[in-house]
Subunit: 232 residues, 4 copies
């Protein structure tokens, strides 16, 4: 038994949920799970198909992006995960996918408008789409800078990563996170479904309006507020 077995096991199970939830094809995504005490995270190895994954193949990496344990190379997105763990110290798990509808919104460079209570049950604002990165960032340490693009987008909007647990990187694809791996994967799936509903809403009514504030707050509070009681 290695000391990171529990992280590898959790990361393995979380990664295996992505194809089951139809969020990835081939290797178009990855989940990592952090061990805050150990100061590391377990992440999917690079380019390995889901059918060939096993817990022991998960790579252990520290919050500076250095491999601590594992024979395989970690996902090419590892530095993005590392930056987020380093700066957001209450995040326990990060998910990156190229899920179809969320990615289409990212490619369209648009925030996903808040049109209904399905969205409001999870966050009170549109799902932010970070602008494409500057050429300097792209030509620099790209995956590392992607992490900062995410952090800076939330900062510029004055959103907390504890309240907004999902977003889009413009021209790229979605990222989601949470305190646990199950929550982070759940958020990635909710984002995809909300993205799909918002696309259809605009097709059905080109002038569809943002949900009104009272309804946004009612739904969010019943799920997340101090007196939360939500659970369908």
């Amino acid at each position: 038994m290695g000391k990171f077995d529990h992280l590898q096991q959790e990361a393995f199970q979380a990664n295996m949920q992505l194809p089951q939830l139809h969020l990835v094809i081939f290797t178009f995504g990855n989940v990592s799970v952090a061990g805050r005490e150990e100061g590391v995270f377990a992440i999917k190895p690079s380019g390995v198909p889901y059918a060939e994954l096993s817990p022991d193949k998960m790579v252990i990496v520290d919050f500076d992006g250095k491999t601590v344990e594992g024979k395989l190379r970690p996902s090419s997105d590892t530095k993005t995960h590392a930056v987020l763990y380093k700066h957001w110290n209450k995040v326990g798990s990060i998910v990156h996918t190229h899920s179809t509808y969320a990615t289409a919104w990212a490619q369209a460079l648009r925030d996903i408008p808040i049109f209904g209570t399905t969205h409001a049950d999870h966050l009170t604002v549109g799902i932010p789409c970070a602008p494409p990165m500057s050429d300097k960032m792209i030509k620099g340490d790209y995956e590392y800078e992607t992490g900062f693009q995410i952090i800076n987008c939330l900062k510029s909007r004055k959103y907390s990563y504890e309240e907004v647990e999902m977003m889009l990187v413009g021209n790229h694809a979605p990222f989601a996170w949470g305190k646990t791996a199950d929550k982070a994967v759940y958020n990635a799936a909710v984002l995809e479904e909300v993205a799909r509903m918002a696309f259809l809403t605009e097709q059905i009514n080109g002038k569809a309006k943002r949900l009104k504030k009272t309804l946004i707050h009612k739904h969010f509070e019943r799920k997340h507020g101090p007196d939360s009681y939500y659970g369908q």
Copy 2:
């Protein structure tokens, strides 16, 4: 054997149909089944994933929304169900989902137009979309008021709940009901399919017209009229 076992069993089976019919992901929906003689209904417990449901976990609630039996908290939508059972005394089962296409119409704040016989086989009018609730209702007893929003929408249109067994709550999602659990779940699935077809119909022909009256009545009567003979 408890006295509500049959209701719990029926409610369990009906809830399990929702993910099988692709009407819900995670816990985005619930079914309840009423025992008219006992004056109660069995409903999904709050926030429990479908994979972990079992008949004994179904909560027994009276028509005022008070829990009569069960260790778990009932669905957060319980009061909406209670109001409907109390006012509509021939309803035997109620289904609430966030199914994708029906929810998109609800978010677009539009009735679903009656474009074809698939729709007319089930009801003779567009599927009504109740307006978003007033701020007062939202800030009040929200789920309770949602029930009245549904009842009042049908009333204002002069529709009977025995003839129109499905509708949308604006900015929220669909509700469907019926004399039995099977019929209520069937109605929820028909609503989703009709919503999808209507979306596509408008995309294919932006000037698509409402089905003509003779055809609406012919299809509805052959299924529901005194001389009904429908059954594909």
Copy 3:
């Protein structure tokens, strides 16, 4: 062993293909199979879910729509099938579904344009959409008249039912047929896929043009002509 066992067996197997090919939900469709020598056809019983079908439940009906054998009532669309068998004496099987994309075109009252070789591999013209029936026909013997609506639509366009084996009934849904049950079901599935592709084609290019004649004829001839050699 009854004398119609082979027809019942074939009709059962063909009906069971419809949900597997995602062409129907619940009881939204039916297949019949004709025995030309016996002057009858076997058809799905009325309103029975696919999961409860068995060969012996298929009803035997003559070409005037009268039940010859079977305890259950035949599908409510039986007379439409009967009319087609009576007038089109080389048809061996008929399929009726409410498949999503084909039904949306029918509701939009539009022929499905011929945009590519997937379509041209099967027919050389747009897939015809019969106009909605007259009030007189609707109020009369409705299902019987639906058969004539189909026959008259092909006649008015000078199409042969041996060449055009699929079409839409306006405001209603698709019908397909063929010499064998397998071919009729295949045609119903091809129609749905062609309907879906044509919808997407117009969304991608609002000015998409009809396939040019040389290409239509090349593809159709290689599959159906005297020197046919097609088979991907």
Copy 4:
């Protein structure tokens, strides 16, 4: 053991992936695998459903399109494959499908714009759509000419078949290829997903812009460049 057994086995397995990846229904597609040393390729037999395929049914054909071994007729698209193998000597496998979204773009006669990094991870340009063939080519040796249409389209755009491994034939459907069967099938699936995302992107933002050059090159280089390190 025959001398072409390994090719037949590979071609069989690759063909069986097409329905699993939802790229074909019925017989709407085919994969071939080349043996460069032997100067032949194994290809799906003509018109045989996927459920009835087996390795020994794969037909062995030379690069002029002549059958070398096999009792069944090779796919009607065999000559297209032969032309490509003859002119592109580093291609090891070719896939042809009528996958829904890619075919819709082909029917719309449009290149698929490069909108995001999912696309850029695989190629640096829009996915080319060859114009419909001339009447002379269509009336001539059609499938043979289809091969030249593909080759000439890439030539006219100055693209290398080693860099652009997927494209559309206008009014027809997609072709993809690669050094191995797995890579060719992968490319066909990526093309379908990229086609779907691009369709949605334009629906969400009618003025969506092409991905900027720095991002295109960054993503492509990290996967394909001399210092490649990609692998999600």
